[in-house]
């Protein structure tokens, strides 16, 4: 016994017949293995990015210096400034941010509704509609985008070869390509990028919720809508957060849909397009300055591209760190399951 009356660790260990020590050692071994594993895999993922980071801090001279591998000899913020310049500064960031948030919210809300409908209600033709959702998951965006573009350039309902209601009334269809709100409508209609996946995720989530929750709500006088809104939605927050996250990230790096909906002439306004055109942009610029036929050295264009990639990654990581909190917080609010 120690002075304050508590039994020491070894005392307790002796009383438990050595169980406590074995348990403690096992715990430490487990922790050690976990740390090694996590660290190793983190390094695997981070290594290419760390390399990008280190070359984004070098002067151009260091790129050709064989003795410089990871730590630059001459620090410089010049690559960052150059990449920032060719990414067209802050405007594409804000454009992408604004559109991404709206698109994310619309997609998550509509897909949550639809997922709940599929999970809980029985209605005629349910399997047919769900088959359509699966079709939407399987068919990649690249396949759909050309016919979609053709349709949206002269949109109408039903719209087969320029025949439809609008053509009957006004003689021409709506031009929806290059319009921001058109993409919002498409997203609200669960027809945006990867909407099928979000519907499926939400459906699986709601199917796994106990039915007693809703029954209790009905008994207490909720109708179908308030049951959904007040009882089931709070519990779905982690799932919704990850849907939002995916939606945002896929929008941020999307080069397919943004070309259809956000192209104004030859100007791409989103950050993904700015990044995609970064090297070309710089090449043209340098050619203008240095004279015809000048080619930017590969190492240099790689440097600027890496820097640009890092710059576009930062907002996503910030958003992830913010969003992952809601993975953790939600339990305390809805821990009634089971």
């Amino acid at each position: 016994m120690t002075k304050d009356g508590r039994i020491s660790f070894w005392e307790r260990n002796r009383k438990s017949g050595g169980y406590l020590l074995r348990k403690r050692i096992g715990e430490y071994i487990f922790r050690f293995c976990r740390a090694v594993l996590l660290f190793g895999l983190c390094f695997l993922i981070l290594q290419p990015l760390l390399h990008k980071f280190s070359i984004s801090m070098m002067t151009e001279k260091d790129l050709y210096d064989k003795t410089v591998i990871n730590i630059p000899r001459h620090f410089s913020t010049e690559p960052i400034k150059t990449a920032w310049h060719y990414l067209h500064g802050i405007t594409p960031f804000f454009t992408s941010l604004r559109i991404g948030i709206v698109v994310g919210i619309l997609q998550v809300l509509s897909c949550t509704l639809v997922g709940y409908g599929f999970a809980r209600y029985k209605f005629p033709l349910k399997n047919f509609w769900f088959g359509c959702v699966i079709l939407l998951i399987v068919v990649p965006a690249q396949t759909l985008i050309t016919p979609l573009q053709l349709l949206l350039a002269d949109w109408d309902f039903p719209g087969i070869r320029g025949v439809g209601i609008l053509h009957l009334i006004t003689g021409h269809g709506l031009k929806l390509t290059g319009k921001e709100f058109a993409y919002y409508v498409v997203c609200a209609g669960c027809a945006g990028y990867k909407s099928g996946l979000y519907i499926y995720m939400m459906r699986q989530h709601f199917r796994n919720e106990p039915k007693e929750l809703e029954e209790a709500a009905y008994v207490d006088g909720c109708n179908r809508w308030t049951t959904f809104w007040k009882i089931l939605l709070p519990g779905a927050r982690p799932m919704m957060a990850s849907c939002f996250l995916f939606s945002f990230v896929w929008w941020w790096t999307d080069g397919v849909y943004s070309r259809v909906f956000f192209a104004k002439g030859n100007n791409w306004v989103t950050i993904a397009n700015a990044l995609n055109g970064l090297v070309e942009n710089m090449g043209h610029d340098m050619e203008r300055i240095m004279g015809r036929g000048y080619i930017v050295p590969a190492a240099r264009s790689n440097q600027i591209l890496s820097t640009g990639t890092l710059l576009t990654l930062i907002p996503l990581i910030v958003i992830y760190v913010l969003a992952q909190k809601s993975f953790v917080e939600s339990i305390s609010q809805s821990g009634i399951k089971g």
């Binding site: 981070l46 699966i134 796994n208």
Partner: protein, 301 residues
């Protein structure tokens, strides 16, 4: 009386169900039905995209499908390799991501940081990020040089040859070594799955674990008796996603073949036929697997 009431309830439910899925129906009918149907229609036609009036379609029936299966010498072998790779990788990715999600769900120092790192693959494997470096033709030619230069000596290669020449050489070893060799690809490909599993794990109530612990459950038992059943619905999601993601990855031989048919030979009809054969096969696989797994997935209903 009671029967009529039940019928009313069923009808009310049917209407409510349709109200809930209404956004999808509207969006699907207005925007996706025509593209889907026209791409399917294209596969039965010969498309002349370079004509004066834009696209002109000539109906040629099943000729494109005939070419896909019996004439094109690359399609069927590529398809089979793709399916074999899928059978190899999808289980690996699922097990890896589930394992990582369970680890990341535990409490330890620096958890936010590690989770943020595991989120990076989601970004790096999406959209334009994939092709950024290979699009730059100069860089990609350099990359081959660099790879040839650095991959000459490695400990793992030696270890692999020792393991494979020993008596213990077996198919299973080959499988494990294949997976380990591809660990970077697997880690990159499982970012989404980890997040889906994580958010699934977060919806399991801690009180279940508490109750189990009081009843004398070990951690191992409560993993199999609580975590596993409660997460099983998300395993289905991840399986579907992994299969689709793996199959529609644009750098596989089959997808390259399909895109080349389109962009180099401008054979829209043939491309559409190739894609649809592929989609139908993937959907068939998904259907069979979901049918098998749904019996085993734990739902409350």
């Amino acid at each position: 009386m009671a029967k009529a009431k039940r019928r009313d309830l069923a009808r009310g439910n049917a209407i409510a169900g349709y109200m809930f899925i209404l956004p999808f129906i509207i969006g699907f009918v207005l925007f996706l039905l025509i593209p889907l149907v026209s791409s399917l229609y294209m596969s039965f036609t010969e498309v002349d995209a370079l004509g004066k009036q834009g696209f002109t379609y000539t109906w040629i029936g099943l000729k494109n499908y005939n070419e896909v299966f019996f004439i094109n010498e690359k399609y069927v072998p590529n398809l089979l390799t793709q399916l074999k790779n899928m059978a190899l990788f999808v289980p690996g990715i699922l097990v890896f991501s589930f394992f990582m999600a369970v680890l990341l769900n535990q409490d330890f120092h620096g958890r936010t940081f590690v989770r943020a790192v595991y989120f990076l693959p989601v970004i790096l494997s999406s959209g334009i990020m994939v092709g950024l470096e290979t699009n730059n033709s100069l860089l990609s030619s350099m990359k081959d040089l660099i790879e040839a230069d650095t991959s000459s000596v490695s400990i793992t290669k030696t270890l692999e040859s020792i393991l494979l020449t020993g008596q213990s050489a077996s198919k299973f070893f080959q499988y494990v070594i294949d997976l380990v060799n591809q660990v970077y690809d697997i880690a990159i490909a499982s970012g989404i799955q980890i997040i889906i599993f994580l958010s699934g794990l977060q919806t399991i109530s801690p009180s279940m674990y508490e109750a189990a612990k009081i009843e004398g459950c070990t951690a191992w038992e409560s993993f199999w008796k609580i975590t596993f059943p409660m997460i099983s619905s998300m395993i289905l999601v991840n399986m579907v996603y992994t299969i689709v993601d793996f199959c529609t990855k644009s750098n596989s031989d089959l997808m390259t073949l399909i895109t080349n048919t389109l962009y180099m030979n401008f054979e829209y009809g043939l491309t559409a036929a190739m894609s649809w054969v592929y989609f139908v096969i993937i959907m068939g696989i998904l259907g069979i697997l979901s049918f098998i797994l749904t019996r085993w997935v734990y739902y409350y209903d």
